[in-house]
């Protein structure tokens, strides 16, 4: 009996994985059509990194050997490359869901034998991973030219292993805001606040180690650090914090945020007002 239930669950999981894979593949194909968008984003990244290289070089007095709160100039610039690659990799989920609710396209998703959240997660992850690698390549090339090659050893393994969790947390945070579209007419204000929190207390612009002690203590209790700070800090400073501890914190936030997303979705979809036709 137990083995049959286990077998059924395994089969269900396999079927869901295949569907998610198919959604991920078609999303990737569709991405190939947005070449101009990628060029624009890559150019923007080039500009941002150039500005920050100048800023941090001034802060370090151009001294490559100087260490500020455990970070050299090279580590800081590569840290920025990693946080920017993750941030710019995250697709605009809030606008997408809001539009689906507003123009009624959500109906097309809900007539399929597929979880609505699961569909968006598969599509999101495909797009986010693809964009992450593109931005990492562009940003990496700039950083390499400005501060030298990334000799981070195991830090790379830390980066790639923590990035999946980081992107998942970003998805869930964005989905929570996006699902508010089922109640309120406009989510752009909330999305703006979310992004600014990622930029600041998420450690996008500078590592949390450089922030005042009381703020660091607050950040430790927020999900944003698990999204940007963990993978980027681990990449440039492997061993500064136990990898396992960071995985556990990411997993805990994923569990909490996923529960919030499911609760909001179940409540929201029951009062859905599909517009138009």
């Amino acid at each position: 009996m137990g083995s049959r239930v286990f077998g059924d669950r395994l089969e269900l999981l396999s079927a869901r994985s295949k569907k998610a894979g198919a959604v991920a593949r078609i999303t990737m194909k569709q991405q190939m059509a947005y070449k101009t968008d990628f060029i624009m984003r890559a150019s923007f990244m080039l500009m941002i990194l150039y500005v920050f290289v100048q800023l941090w070089s001034a802060a370090y007095d151009g001294d490559a050997g100087r260490v500020i709160n455990g970070f050299t100039l090279k580590q800081i610039i590569w840290y920025l490359v990693f946080t920017e690659a993750i941030t710019m990799g995250v697709p605009a989920l809030c606008g997408l869901i809001e539009n689906e609710v507003k123009n009624g396209d959500i109906a097309i998703r809900l007539i399929r034998p597929l979880s609505y959240i699961g569909y968006h997660y598969a599509a999101y992850l495909s797009e986010a991973v693809f964009r992450f690698y593109i931005h990492l390549a562009v940003g990496g090339a700039i950083a390499w030219l400005c501060v030298g090659p990334p000799t981070f050893g195991l830090g790379w393994a830390g980066l790639f292993s923590l990035t999946l969790g980081a992107l998942t947390i970003a998805f869930l945070l964005n989905m929570i805001v996006a699902l508010c579209a089922l109640w309120v007419e406009e989510t752009r204000g909330m999305e703006f606040v979310l992004h600014k929190l990622q930029f600041t207390v998420g450690g996008m612009l500078l590592p949390l180690d450089l922030m005042p002690e009381p703020l660091q203590r607050v950040c430790a209790w927020l999900p944003f650090q698990a999204m940007l700070y963990f993978p980027a800090r681990t990449a440039v400073n492997f061993g500064a914090a136990p990898l396992l501890q960071q995985f556990v914190i990411q997993a805990a936030w994923i569990a909490v945020l996923a529960a919030a997303v499911m609760l909001m979705y179940r409540r929201g979809v029951s009062k859905l007002h599909v517009n138009g036709g």
Binding site: K18, I26, K271
Partner: protein
């Protein structure tokens, strides 16, 4: 409801079963009310007021398997909202519904394997990719066996004549080509029940005709139940054996299409573009025909089919004027509904 034909009997022993059944299905939306002007916007911001909008008042309906039912009504009558409740997209405010034995809003994913839906105003095809990619995605989502999928896909491609543009990005297809792809995709997983929400909206007469033929063919060959909403009476006339007309969220009429044609759809509109200007004195008296509009080179005639027929009217008109163009149409749904009210059902 003004008129309703005797409820369809379940033919016990004849193998007929119910495809869908609803009981007092109702949907009320809460809509924010805003007064006009800037002051109204501020008032709405500080003290929002809400009002209830009844989209579907109460729908009691039974459709048997294999039936082709037209669900008609003017814009805002509640057709799409009803379909969305029956497909599990919307949760009703009250009432019950069973679709192929499932409660749609509670068993959405389970039901989705057995039904198909086409929303004429919404595309399920991936805009930048060719239709073949959407076919492949749908086959994975519906967990189709690969060999079965390929055979089914090839069959649909042949029937719907999709071959020439199967590998063309959707954004480059015409509306008619896209709609053929949309409907073919919705048949891929062999749905037992197909919901078509305005499948011919915006299409020209020839494409409309072709799409109707294809739907009829699949219904005949595969026994697919078709539940079609439209504000085009032609869809009903050519596809369905039964028509349910709704208005203001309630059923106004439920009758066989033949009877409807005889008693309600007994009027056609002939729109003519004349080669020269319209001269009323040239047109001889035509029994059962009224001039709705005649101005410049345009002439619009209303024909009562109980009194005369289209051929007779056209014969007289062609003998009188030189024509550039002729269109024969059904009267708009609003007129049909007014007629139903006028005749007391």
């Amino acid at each position: 409801m003004l008129y309703r034909e005797e409820a369809p009997k379940y033919a016990k022993g004849a193998g007929q079963v119910v495809a869908l059944q609803t009981q007092a299905l109702r949907k009320v939306f809460t809509v924010k009310r805003k007064d006009a002007g800037l002051a109204g916007s501020f008032r709405s911001l500080l003290k929002p007021s809400w009002e209830e909008k009844v989209a579907v008042r109460s729908i009691d309906l039974t459709v048997q398997r294999g039936e082709m039912v037209a669900f008609l009504g003017p814009n805002g009558a509640g057709k799409s909202t009803t379909i969305k409740m029956l497909t599990g997209i919307l949760h009703p405010s009250s009432g019950e519904a069973k679709v192929l034995g499932c409660t749609p809003w509670r068993e959405r994913e389970k039901l989705a394997f057995r039904i198909g839906a086409v929303f004429g105003q919404k595309s399920q095809l991936w805009y930048h990719l060719p239709p073949i990619d959407t076919f492949d995605l749908i086959s994975r989502i519906y967990e189709l066996d690969r060999a079965d999928y390929h055979a089914r896909r090839d069959d649909l491609i042949e029937r719907f004549e999709l071959g020439p543009y199967l590998h063309t990005p959707v954004r480059k297809l015409s509306l008619g080509e896209r709609m053929r792809c949309e409907i073919a995709v919705s048949f891929l997983h062999r749905p037992q029940l197909l919901f078509l929400d305005e499948p011919t909206i915006g299409l020209d007469v020839v494409v409309k005709q072709r799409i109707r033929e294809l739907i009829r063919e699949v219904n005949r060959d595969e026994g697919t139940t078709v539940f079609l909403t439209s504000h085009d009476a032609g869809d009903m006339e050519e596809l369905c054996s039964r028509a349910v007309v709704i208005h203001h969220g309630g059923i106004l009429l439920d009758a066989p299409v033949d009877r409807l044609k005889r008693e309600v759809l007994n009027r056609k509109i002939i729109s003519l573009t004349l080669a020269a200007g319209y001269d009323a004195s040239m047109l001889p008296p035509l029994p059962g025909t009224e001039v709705i509009a005649g101005e410049g080179r345009r002439l619009k005639l209303g024909v009562d089919l109980a009194v005369t027929d289209i051929e007779a009217v056209l014969g007289t008109v062609i003998g009188t004027y030189r024509l550039d163009d002729v269109t024969v149409e059904d009267p708009p749904m609003e007129e049909i509904i007014a007629h139903i009210y006028g005749t007391g059902g």
